[in-house]
Symmetry: C2
Subunit: 434 residues, 2 copies
């Protein structure tokens, strides 16, 4: 019989922690044995699990067995070398270690005092990151800038939109919400629209300007300035422009320089998001000697997130990280070459980073057929379980997306994926000729 | 020389993962050796770390040494048995294992298809939780209910407020935002105010009704109904009431039954938060066969969060979890008894759960002195590093909060904390008599 598991106990954490490390390492060792896109049917898990929590504890081995038998078949394996969908969301050895440590210390870093190291390390490594990206000096924490790791990209978009909204409303009066206008291209991530919805910006004041193949789906500065002039003429108030470096559909890059400069200034952010209840007051905060990240984000609480970034930067170093990204871009270029060599396919937009947008050309019977054909090709490829890719629509055309960059992906995986695509294309074209 | 660390590699993950488990287990073994409240000065870390990221990788041992020497002194130890501040935010062996697994699989569960198990397990274990809390049937996923683990409590408050706002605006027209009114007691967590700010509710329409000692700081239904009547009379539109079970200051419980019934219906939430960009479309979602949690929350992406809850429920079982909570309440009651036996102190509000609100009585010279005295007592106690408690203000009185519940806390830690409080009180009262 197993010993009773205590709420917390150093030696039990050690014993079971080692077992879990082995379980996860074995998962990575065998990750290619799973279909990369889970092939289960909706509702599959309901029948496999009891419908209420157990009264008595279960054994750790029993839980691990259930994970293997019941959970893993329902997992889509984002870390598989055969994963080419959406964008990669990579784990790494160093990142995993950082997550472990953050979960182990399990502090809540809303104010400086609740764990000074959490706030200070985050400020420091985000200065590192700003320098790595060669951002202007204003972005560093020494001046009016300074970085923060938001929980998600959607929250990041939302908080800057709120900062801009409240800054504009302080200028023009808070009754003017319905006059505020947001600009972006129609290729901008849906997170912006969601942020506008949340912030109460009227949907008809969200100008998602049409981008097309003439600019490779980047926002046109001329169209933008025209639209802004029209809005000003009818008394509306332009207050926010969202430019994208690498759109979600096709990695289009909006022309930042032509679109003008924007200042990031943390004070507007803090004004939009700060609260100061009595129970959180403390000497260091009251004296304005420290940054309290609770005022830079939606939530109050926050994990010790910077540990992960810090460990990734230190354990790999800048040069290895650069090589890593370049190797993905090289693999994408390799895939682009493969597509270009097969005349049944076309590359739809010029590849910029490590995403290739392509499609199978319709035999002759026009666009509608082309869309249906590529949709069928996508389903056929993904249901093999040997590769997972996703799609988008550009100018009405259904396009396949091949995003290279999972941590275990090598050239052989790209070649194998291309072979699956070619084989399924041959089968589909054969059918459509019959 | 160490081998070069690969982006991902099963055997390297195993090797370093084991080392990290040992590091974390050793941390828990020695956690009482650290001052529970970090005693560093603002800015301490800047001088200890380089000001840009390294070009070349660093060794894992070197990073671990830095964590020990530079990071841990800046950590406030939320898991220490001597932590009694704010509210506990507990790790547990099972929770830690769940976090490890979630970080190991590292999937992004925005839509069902991106990892069916992530969505389905979350629905199942939240049904378990609803049953554990004996919530009405409507809360279960089989009907119009169903649960979701939000990133934070603040996001949870925000998303329900947005759902209610948009439902109200659909009824009365979207120009009516400035007429919408929110109700809550002034003891409600600041997350509500922040949510109102974000949602664009005018600050003067947030009615934070005064709660006082006559109701033990719970919201008064009479005052609420009076205020609503007045608002209706001048054409305002009441649309949101936030009741709290266990306020942040003093665990006051608002009288839910008297405050009326509210229906949770997931459709309003999804209407307020859904987006459906082309690149995320897929068969299962389009056919409405599945839940896509992206439409129940602010962000798009999400971790496999339910693994943690599932492992905690299974590895401990309901009865042990109940015992665990009851043992914290018993320890708090023990502390309350200790305070009651020392006539120099008073228990300020009746203890309900595991928080004791108390203060040192001012010798004779009135309230102002009492507030200063307790503030000084707080600082004196926390600067020992042997205990960490926090404070609040109720009806103008500065109150000390003793929140029991860290995972390693036993009766001996409560007794030791009380001894520190008594000793520092003796010293302070001695000084104030001189
Ligand atoms: C009642 C209540 N609501 C909201 C919060 C904020 O939670 P989070 O940090 O998860 O946003 C807290 C945290 O103390 C709380 O006690
Ligand atoms: C450009 C862009 N913005 C926002 C998001 C949404 O990110 P999150 O899931 O972190 O909210 C994504 C995710 O794909 C993205 O590509």
């Amino acid at each position: 019989m197993e010993k009773r598991l205590k709420p917390m106990d150093a030696e039990q954490l050690r014993e079971y922690g080692h077992k879990m490390v082995d379980f996860i390492a074995d998962y990575y060792k065998t990750i290619e044995n799973f279909p990369v896109l889970s092939q289960v049917e909706p509702g599959y898990l309901r029948n496999l699990l009891p419908d209420s929590a157990p009264n008595q504890p279960d054994s750790f081995q029993h839980v691990l067995d259930d994970i293997q038998a019941k959970i893993l078949p329902g997992v889509t394996h984002w870390q598989s070398p055969n994963y080419f969908a959406y964008y990669p969301s990579n784990s790494s050895v160093a990142g995993f270690l950082g997550e472990m440590l953050s979960a182990g210390l399990n502090i809540v870093g809303f104010s400086w005092i609740t764990s000074p190291a959490a706030t200070e390390l985050e400020m420091i490594v985000l200065d590192w990151l700003a320098k790595m990206l060669k951002l202007p000096e204003d972005f560093l924490s020494a001046g009016q800038g300074g970085g923060v790791i938001q929980g998600t990209a959607s929250e990041a978009v939302l908080v800057v939109l709120l900062a801009a909204r409240d800054k504009a409303l302080r200028r023009v009066g808070k009754g003017a919400l319905e006059k505020l206008v947001v600009y972006a291209s129609d290729q901008t991530h849906s997170a912006l629209q969601k942020a506008c919805q949340i912030a109460g910006i009227h949907p008809e004041n969200c100008r998602l300007l049409k981008a097309n193949s003439s600019t490779n789906y980047a926002l046109s500065p001329e169209l933008l300035s025209e639209t802004i002039s029209q809005d000003l003429a009818i008394g509306l108030i332009p207050f926010f422009l969202c430019a994208t470096v690498g759109t979600t559909s096709s990695t289009a890059v909006d022309p930042l320089l032509a679109l003008g400069k924007f200042a990031k200034d943390r004070s507007a952010l803090v004004q939009a998001l700060s609260t100061n209840p009595e129970f959180l007051k403390n000497k260091a905060s009251q004296a304005n000697m420290v940054v309290d990240y609770k005022d830079w984000q939606i939530p109050l609480g926050r994990r010790f997130r910077s540990l992960k970034l810090w460990m990734v930067l230190r354990l790999y170093g800048l040069e290895n990280l650069q090589c890593y990204i370049r190797s993905h871009i090289k693999l994408a270029k390799h895939f682009e070459d493969l597509v270009a060599q097969d005349t049944r396919f076309e590359v739809v937009t010029p590849r910029i980073f490590s995403l290739v947008c392509f499609r199978l050309l319709p035999p002759s019977n026009g666009e509608y057929h082309g869309n249906k054909l590529n949709h069928e090709l996508l389903d056929a490829v993904n249901s093999t379980g040997n590769v997972f890719i996703s799609h988008t629509v550009l100018s009405g055309k259904y396009i396949l997306r091949f995003a290279v960059g999972a941590p275990l992906t090598e050239e052989k995986h790209v070649n194998a994926a291309w072979k699956v695509l070619q084989d399924k294309a041959t089968a589909l074209l054969g059918e459509s000729l019959r």
